[in-house]
């Protein structure tokens, strides 16, 4: 696969139209569209605030005092940049592509994840944010530290292109490794099917949150994994292990859906509990649509916070 195939110009154009506004304040110094909540160190006036004892006297706006005989201090907005780390699941299960997805021309989960990763990287770099990349397997490998230069995009895309799946995965350990690789707060974008032991994985997510990172999860799934629509007697083989099972799919469909639904609900609830942004990404859904809706959601969420 060529690197360019992950970079859908149309997708990027649409994504560029939106601003990525982090929910949480990121530290950084680059001027741009990411506004830091720490007022006072920037030259760009934000608003007036009535003086209260303890405020910096240097910030009192004397002109306003002259006109209104009341003390106000000036507040300034200061633009910052954000550090992001995109973590892509490189386990074998990510190469699954269901029958319906194949017939609809939808990609494998891995290709879908690569597209999202590349698009997000481009967007972040365009906004002068620094972006890093890590591939999740039994740990983190192929790690590219976060950088803010445009040329870095090509490295990321090249790394994504040469990515090959590996048997076995340990998302919990990979997330823990990732937490130690990033200094300071970071937007950690996890793109994975999360088909791993949920206990360590959720524990690692809570660790990220504890370290004041902002994890975002794009949960990439094929529709067949949710609906289990198979009819014929099948010998199911595990993509990441030696397990095999001969079974009439119809006989376990209801049970499968119940278990899988419980798994999805558990992940979603856990993320919500830790304030982790969670998006379910079906491979049959256009990536542009997914990112657009997600960015719109983030912009709205950020706006409401600023208004408060």
């Amino acid at each position: 696969m060529s690197a360019n195939s992950f970079v859908d110009p149309e997708l990027l154009r649409r994504i560029q139209a939106l601003e990525l506004q982090a929910r949480e304040v990121a530290e950084g110094v680059l001027l741009g569209i990411h506004h830091a909540p720490d007022r006072g160190r920037s030259i760009e006036f934000a608003e007036h605030k009535e003086y209260s004892p303890g405020d910096d006297l240097r910030r009192i706006d004397w002109k306003v005092y002259a006109k209104s005989d009341r003390l106000y201090i000036k507040e300034y907005e200061d633009d910052t940049n954000i550090t992001s780390l995109v973590l892509l699941d490189g386990s074998a299960s990510m190469s699954y592509q269901g029958q319906r997805a194949r017939e609809a021309g939808s990609p494998t989960k891995l290709d879908y994840a690569r597209t999202i990763a590349a698009a997000l990287s481009y967007l972040l770099l365009t906004q002068s944010d620094s972006v890093g990349l890590g591939i999740m397997g039994r740990g983190i490998h192929g790690f590219l530290p976060p950088r803010a230069r445009q040329a870095h995009f090509h490295e990321i895309v090249a790394r994504l292109a040469e990515l090959d799946v590996e048997m076995g995965t340990d998302i919990g350990r990979a997330l823990a490794d990732a937490a130690s690789l990033v200094k300071g707060r970071a937007l950690i974008i996890i793109i994975s099917d999360l088909l791993d032991d949920p206990g360590p994985m959720l524990k690692a997510l809570s660790l990220l949150r504890h370290r004041r990172h902002e994890p975002v999860i794009f949960h990439v799934l094929d529709p067949d994994e949710i609906e289990f629509p198979f009819e014929r007697l099948s010998l199911f083989k595990d993509m990441e292990g030696p397990a095999r099972l001969l079974v009439e799919p119809r006989s376990i469909r209801d049970e499968y859906r119940r278990h899988f639904g419980r798994f999805l609900a558990g992940v979603k609830d856990e993320c919500a509990g830790h304030g982790i942004d969670y998006r379910l990404a079906l491979t049959t859904e256009p990536p542009a649509l997914l990112l657009t809706s997600w960015l719109a959601y983030r912009a709205a969420a950020s706006g409401s916070r600023n208004r408060r």
Binding site: S93, M94, Y96, K109, D193, L195, D222, E225, F230, R232, L233, S234, L235, F236, K237, D238, M239, E240, G241, A243, L245, L246, V247, E248, R250, S251, I252, E255, Y256, R258, H259, F260, F263
Partner: protein, 715 residues
């Protein structure tokens, strides 16, 4: 004792097919596709949850399929389970038993090495042998309704039993059972029972003429319970005259019924006269259906015939339908015109001549020649079969003698009267040749005796039926016209008979004889009491004139075509009206046995009654004018009448009655159905009731199929 047997035991081997689902299940499982899947953890988790249930379903499915194969094979093999429930326990009291033997035609069906009837008779023999001298037994023939006295003499009972033979008639089971109940009515101090040995054919189970209230315990020994219906039969034979281009023909049609369970293909039907095959053809008859076959007989022969169904079926006795035919022949008739005229319409014989030989319209078998009285002297009467004297007055003694000799030797004479005839002269001239003496001419008046008030009399429309005179049988076909439309204004009145010796063929509506037949020697004489032309009546301008005189002349010449397709069934009592001159009759049965018929005279009418009609076929009747002249034997050609008897088609239908239906028909009492071989003492080899479980198995099979479908959908 109980046991399982199969009607089709070889099919039961198909039950070994239960191995098939097992082999398929374990060795030829459906080919599964290999499938790499990502969320395997959830597949395994789900499977663990339902594995036990799935395994159970799988084995249930396997069991259902095995059972279905086994049930199908067993159902097709028709399992029969015999239960030893019908031994009759001998109590303290002696036994009074009546054995009712079904001797109907359906009991002649073959089973094993003999007929059902033979098996039944053997069973009754066995039963009689079990009775002690304190017991009483009687035997009833369910067809003839004959009975023995209740007794304990085994030899007498055996002799009575041996005298019963199968018949060609249906049983009258209701009456036979009622008769049995009456035989036992005085023996209430004994253990009473009625044992009916029958094939349970529906036809024979008629309700009794009167309900029996005191019906002893009834045991029906079903002789045909394991027999499949396999009978072909003939019925509804019909004969129609057909006019072909150059000859007359008889079309014989017959219905072929198939009361079996398999289609009958290319069944050969053969119309026979004696040993000769007159016509034959093939017919296909579907199972449970019927077909009609018609055959044409040209050059219509005379005599008895039969249509035979050449097939090897259950009841051979109903494979023939009998009929009799009498083909006509050319008749040379001499017509003597007693009142010749120059205008042909005024000639006495003009209308007769047109009627007897209507060349322009239809072919006639009568060739008339007309002469005058003066020309009679040169006539050789031996050249003719019939002579018509039309309004002929006085004749010379030599001519009269010649005519009398002609009639005496077998010729036919038709006398039509008119103005030239004088009653006294005629009576004197012809004497005992006349069927009845002439009394004089009558011209009826309505009231005052004036010419304007002449009363027009009409003929009585003849009734059709068995007693119809052969001359009039043609008028059963309404297209021949209505004799009653002709008007009579003048006619001779004939002498009333004290001792009837003539037969009235036609009467006026007031009862006056208009056409009378008499016998003279071997010949026949018919007197038509009015004129043959328009002088005294207008019959000659009615369409009925032609067939009436054609038939009369052919009858006199013994050339009338006749047919009898046997609408009377064998076993029926047959009564035939006969002339008042008949003093007795002899009957020749199809087996050549000759026996007398009973003569019955009631209210001036005579008829003969024939009761010994057990055999189907043609019966020949010789009428005797003098009882003392009864011959020990006679030939078919001498017979005056033929009677054709056929088998009652209802007896060919082998549909059976269920026990519940029998109970409903009998009205009351304990009724049990048993198999042959039932014993009096339950300790001896017990008789059994056999039940078929094929239907039950088929229902179970359907239930299993539904279950299998449900399990397959789930799995």
């Amino acid at each position: 004792m109980s046991g399982l047997s199969f009607l089709n035991p070889w099919i039961a081997l198909g039950a070994l097919g239960v191995a098939a689902p097992i082999i398929i299940h374990f060795f030829f499982r459906r080919r599964a596709r290999d499938f790499e899947f990502s969320a395997m953890r959830f597949v395994i988790l789900s499977y663990k949850k339902v594995a036990r249930k799935l395994l159970l379903q799988e084995y249930l499915l396997l069991a259902a399929r095995c059972l279905m194969v086994a049930l199908l094979a067993l159902a097709l093999a028709v399992p029969l389970i015999k239960k030893s429930v019908v031994g009759i326990k001998r109590g303290q009291r002696p036994i009074a038993a009546v054995f009712v033997l079904d001797s109907s035609l359906s009991m002649t069906r073959a089973q094993n090495n003999g007929a059902l009837f033979d098996d039944a008779r053997k069973d009754v023999e066995d039963w009689i042998a079990q009775l002690t001298e304190n017991d009483r037994a009687g035997i009833v023939d369910a067809v003839r309704l004959t009975r023995t006295d209740m007794g304990s003499d085994h030899k007498k009972l055996a002799a009575a039993l041996a005298a019963i033979n199968p018949t060609y008639s249906p049983a009258r089971m209701g009456d036979a059972i009622a008769m049995s109940a009456s035989m036992l009515s005085d023996l209430s101090a004994m253990d009473r029972m009625v044992l009916v040995f029958t094939d349970m054919q529906r036809t024979g189970w008629t309700a009794p003429a009167s309900k029996t209230t005191d019906l002893p315990p009834l045991y029906i020994i079903d002789m045909a319970r394991d027999l499949k219906p396999d009978n072909l039969s003939l019925s509804d034979i019909a004969i129609n005259w057909k006019a072909l281009a150059r000859e007359e023909a008889a079309q014989i049609s017959v219905k072929v019924h198939n009361y079996g369970v398999a289609d009958a293909r290319k069944v050969l039907l053969r119309a026979e006269f004696g040993e000769e095959t007159a016509a034959q053809g093939f017919v296909d008859v579907p199972a449970g259906g019927e077909a009609e076959k018609a055959m044409i007989l040209t050059d219509v022969p005379s005599g008895a015939g039969a249509v035979r169904l050449m097939a090897d079926d259950g009841i051979p006795g109903d494979n023939a339908q009998y009929f009799s035919l009498k083909g006509g022949h050319e008749v040379r008739a001499l017509m003597v015109d007693g009142d010749p005229a120059t205008g042909y319409l005024d000639a006495e014989t003009y209308f007769l001549n047109q009627a007897l030989n209507p060349r322009l319209y239809v072919r006639s078998r009568v060739s008339p020649r007309t002469v005058t009285v003066g020309e009679l002297a040169s006539v050789n009467f031996a050249d003719y079969q019939a002579v018509v004297l039309a309004n002929v007055g006085k004749l010379g003694p030599a001519t009269v003698k010649s005519i009398k000799q002609f009639v005496q030797s077998g010729g036919g004479l038709l006398l039509t009267l008119g103005g030239n005839v004088d009653a006294d002269l005629y009576n004197a001239l012809w004497g005992d040749l006349l069927p009845r003496e002439l009394r004089g001419v009558l011209q009826p008046y309505a009231g005052a005796q004036s010419a304007s008030s002449v009363r027009v009399m009409h003929l009585e429309t003849p009734a059709s039926g068995a007693g119809q005179h052969p001359v009039l049988s043609i008028f059963s076909d309404v297209s021949q016209g209505d004799l009653g439309l002709a008007g009579f204004t003048k006619y001779f009145v004939m002498q009333q008979e004290v001792t009837p010796k003539s037969t009235v063929i036609l009467r006026l509506t007031d009862g006056t004889p208009m056409m009378v037949e008499g016998r003279y020697g071997k010949g026949k004489v018919i007197v038509f009491a009015s004129s043959a032309d328009r002088a005294w009546n207008d019959l000659c301008i009615h369409p009925t004139y032609l067939p009436l005189f054609q038939q009369a002349v052919q009858y006199l010449a013994d050339a009338l075509m006749a047919k009898d397709s046997g609408r009377i069934f064998a076993g029926a009592v047959v009564e035939l009206p006969v002339g008042s001159d008949v003093a007795g009759a002899r009957v020749m049965a199809p087996d050549q046995k000759i026996f007398p018929a009973e003569l019955i005279a009631e209210q001036g009418a005579r008829r003969i009654r024939i009761t010994d009609t057990a055999l189907p076929g043609v019966y020949y009747v010789l009428l005797l004018r003098d009882q003392s002249s009864a011959p020990a034997a006679f030939s078919v050609s001498d017979a005056d009448r033929t009677i054709v008897l056929n088998v009652d088609p209802a007896e060919s239908d082998l549909a059976r009655l269920s026990l519940d239906e029998i109970k409903a028909r009998l009205g009351s009492g304990a009724v049990r159905v048993s198999a042959p071989g039932m014993q009096l003492d339950p300790d001896s080899p017990a008789a059994t009731e056999t039940h078929s479980y094929a239907a039950l198995m088929l229902w179970a099979l359907i239930g299993l199929a539904v279950m299998e479908r449900a399990l397959t959908r789930k799995g």
